[in-house]
Amino acid sequence: MSFILQLFAAIGQIALLVLDCLRLLFRRPFEGGLIVEQMHRVGVRSLPLVAITLLFTGAVMALQVSYTLAAYGAKLYVGSFVSLSVVKELGPVLTAVMLAARVGAGMTAELGSMEVTEQIDAIRALGASPIKKLVIPRMVALMIMVPVLTILGDTLGILGGLYIAVAEIGQSSDYYWSKVREILYVGDLISSVGKTFFFAFFIGIIACFNGLKTTGGATGVGRATTNTVVAASVCIFISNFFLAKLFLFIQMSF
């Protein structure tokens, strides 16, 4: 019972944090420098991780499809399988989960340490807003960089499949690309990227909320960081199901 109450209390507090962010988002000064700095930390520094994850995922998908499903004649459709699964699901979800682990955890640990050493209070005491200085730059950076990283991840996933198709199965790259182009529609790309705005929002708001609410020294920071990774990943997986339904419904309607 107390868990459910705590959950609802947290959802309420997160809603208030979101309202505060929206209220302060368009108020001057815009903190452009802080946003760019966060975009570098979120985007540029996560690129190798996302690249490796998706490159190998695309490759292993191609491997599994061409050998495991060979009896169904799947070898010819490696390009279709890989591109569809990477663009529609694996690209956005894996990118988001990797960022929840790398960036979300980092944000909570950083804000949590600032909270327990009274740096957040110091920002307030010096006449500034921690939401404006810390939360909004992180949220904006995530909302911009997660979609960008997903597009790059999708591309690398398809390239990973291409390598296996050419090097292991002996397909021509033209044939692989023709299969990719045949199966992918603009709608798939829109739904792939569209989902990631929601994922970015979940990672950012959960990471910042947990960071700002940290109590209890180093142990508290550790606990908050773990919470962020777990809660953000769960939110990504659950929301992914409903977002997939939503985007399928939208695609069907056109």
Partner: protein, 249 residues
């Protein structure tokens, strides 16, 4: 200049403040004494609205604090500097940017910021070269000095010190005490110092308040404090527990 009336504050089921009344006159230094965990720091945080009371009123320079929203507190926070216990310097910024932070927030022009930083570093007895260091490169005493420099950068009319000498060696503690005194003389600021260090309290204070079980049990001058008859306050000043006292009589 600062007046707290009937402040009540509880965290969850734990009641910390149970009707704190406190008044600080312009230009004086009030020391709030009390055991660890007695709510001294919580009391101090109420002054600039970092913590909101469950009941009671806080008035700073004629303006009510407790009813204000966060953004309406900025004008009060520019008037009252706060020195946090551990300094609370921003780890990600060097000393220069730490001190420039409140100045930039107050919209001061770049030239003025550039001139002000060595000036406040000088006021706290540090060389301008310190500006290039990161907080992690500073000793405990230097961190407190830099934090004080940051707190006085926008020339506040009052400074609140939260345990300024805790965790420092006796020599550094004395220099911090001397610094608090010099702030009073040179900047003519009103100060509240929260501490459990009696030596430091008597070194800096004009007037003393003793916080015990969520209420102010004593207020008065140094002479009044030294001749106070209150049993609990006497025991605190002499570093005895009440049980010792009971045992004696």
């Amino acid at each position: 200049m600062i007046k707290l009336s009937e402040i009540h504050k509880a965290f969850g089921a734990k009641s910390i403040l149970r009707g704190v009344d406190l008044e600080v006159q312009e230009g004086e230094t009030l020391v709030i004494l009390g055991a660890s965990g007695s709510g001294k720091s919580v009391t101090l945080r109420h002054v600039i609205g970092l913590t909101h009371p469950d009941r009671g009123t806080v008035v700073v320079d004629g303006q009510e604090v407790q009813a204000r929203r966060e953004r309406d507190l900025v004008s009060i926070r520019r008037k009252v500097g706060f020195l946090f216990q551990g300094g609370a310097l921003f780890d990600s910024m060097d000393v220069h940017d730490n001190i420039a932070f409140p100045l930039r927030e107050a919209g001061r022009p770049i030239r003025q910021i550039r001139d002000r930083i060595p000036e406040v570093l000088g006021l706290v007895g540090l060389s301008p070269r310190v500006a290039e260091l990161m907080p992690s490169e500073l000793s405990g005493g230097m961190r407190k000095r830099v934090a004080l420099a940051r707190a006085i950068a926008v020339a506040p009319r009052a400074i609140l010190y939260d345990e300024p000498t805790t965790g420092l060696d006796p020599v550094t503690s004395n220099t911090i005490n001397a610094l608090i005194r010099s702030m009073q003389r040179r900047l003519a600021v009103t100060s509240i110092v929260v501490t459990h260090d009696i030596h430091s309290a008597f070194a800096v204070g004009d007037r003393f308040a003793f916080l015990h079980e969520g209420r102010i049990r004593f207020t008065g001058s140094r002479e009044e404090a030294e001749s106070a008859s209150d049993k609990v306050f006497r025991a605190f000043l002499e570093g005895r527990t009440l049980e010792d006292e009971d045992g004696e009589h």
